[in-house]
């Protein structure tokens, strides 16, 4: 079942990398510009999520601290990962191995060539009412994130490479020269 596939992916994948496209659909239904970039993660909780278009922004987690740098704003922001990852989509892909600790999983049927899993966060204080994960060939291929304020974030993944390993420095954030630093 897609749930088994997702759990299998989670339990057998210690690291992965790939590309994503992201579209945010506002509560009025209007879709904003598609953004895209690359990601790499290593469990538990380490990831580098890089937006390359239409702007440059990178989010780096070393498992404890999440650092965010936005080139246009020229600012670095840091925050503890715990409050950031919680029951967020990052927890699904990059967090701990057992999804059912944070989410109630159910079969979401098949659509557009994917088998879907619906994940409802167990904690009511998170930002999401539900997350749909589209599985294809045993890999998460798409995600739909329904936030509590009516926006839907649609992510599509491609070129996923599993357990390809990542040098430790991948998850260390180094601020560009001249960037405004904040805690």
């Amino acid at each position: 079942t897609p749930i088994d596939d997702l759990q299998q992916f989670n339990s057998t994948t210690s690291s992965a990398s790939g590309s994503f496209t992201q579209k945010v659909i506002g509560k009025s239904g209007s879709a904003k510009k598609v953004s895209s970039g690359t990601f790499i993660f290593a469990r538990p909780g380490k990831f580098r999520w890089t937006y390359t278009a239409p702007y440059e922004q990178v989010l780096v987690s070393d498992g404890k601290t999440l650092s965010i740098f936005d080139k246009d704003l020229n600012q670095v922001t840091k925050r503890s990962l715990g409050s950031a990852i919680g029951s967020s989509p990052a927890a699904i892909l990059f967090g701990g191995k057992d999804l059912s600790a944070n989410f109630t999983l159910s079969d979401g049927g098949s659509a557009d060539g994917r088998a879907w899993v619906t994940a409802v966060p167990k904690s009511k204080s998170g930002n999401f009412t539900k997350v749909n994960i589209g599985m294809r060939n045993g890999l998460p291929d798409a995600m739909e994130l329904y936030d509590t304020l009516g926006q839907v974030t649609v992510l599509n993944f491609s070129g996923i490479s599993k357990n390809s390993g990542a040098p430790a420095s991948t998850f260390n954030f180094v601020a560009p020269a001249g960037a405004i630093q904040g805690k």
Partner: protein
């Protein structure tokens, strides 16, 4: 829980979105004597009756929705709480511990009728100084603003506007 913003009726002139902008923001502020910062995305949609501001995380999920009318400012947070104050500044102070210049932001970003030349500094909009450091090509409207204040506590609000309805993208 009552939804914050009334469902918009696109055929009603009062509900037609007359101005919108979508961008990224960063805030530098001081909390308990320590330099702190926050960053996120902002969608600003204005009708004749009200302004709706959606604040999201850098990853795109909404964390707060503000609904501002001339008489009040209300906010619904992602965990379902609803707060109401007289002004957006009071609302943000209550939630974040500092104000953000939402009441004046519309005039700060300017319009084709009234716009700041680049690198000029508009001082003293209720204690905020505004500097436009980047512009859209045509019409030549503000794209990046650095908005600062000293009192009651030093704070810098940087806004980078990715899209604004009065500065359409050049068609390829």
């Amino acid at each position: 829980c009552a939804s914050v913003a009334p469902v918009r009726d696109a055929n009603n002139i009062d509900d037609k979105v007359q101005f919108s902008m979508d961008g990224r923001f960063a805030v530098q502020y001081i909390e308990n004597g320590e330099d702190k910062s926050m960053t996120g995305k902002m969608l600003w949609e204005e009708t004749r009756r009200a302004t709706d501001i959606t604040l999201s995380t850098p990853l795109g999920n909404a964390i707060a929705g503000l609904h501002i009318t001339p008489n009040e400012a209300r906010i619904k947070t992602s965990d379902g709480h609803l707060f109401v104050e007289n002004t957006p500044e009071e609302l943000m102070y209550r939630l974040l511990g500092y104000e953000l210049p939402f009441s004046n932001l519309r005039s700060m970003v300017g319009s084709s009728q009234k716009s700041l030349a680049e690198h000029t500094v508009l001082e003293g909009i209720e204690g905020w100084d505004v500097k436009v450091t980047n512009r859209f090509p045509n019409p030549n409207l503000a794209k990046k603003l650095i908005i600062t204040r000293i009192k009651p506590t030093p704070l810098t609000f940087t806004l980078f506007i990715d899209e604004r309805s009065d500065a359409p993208e050049p068609t390829e």
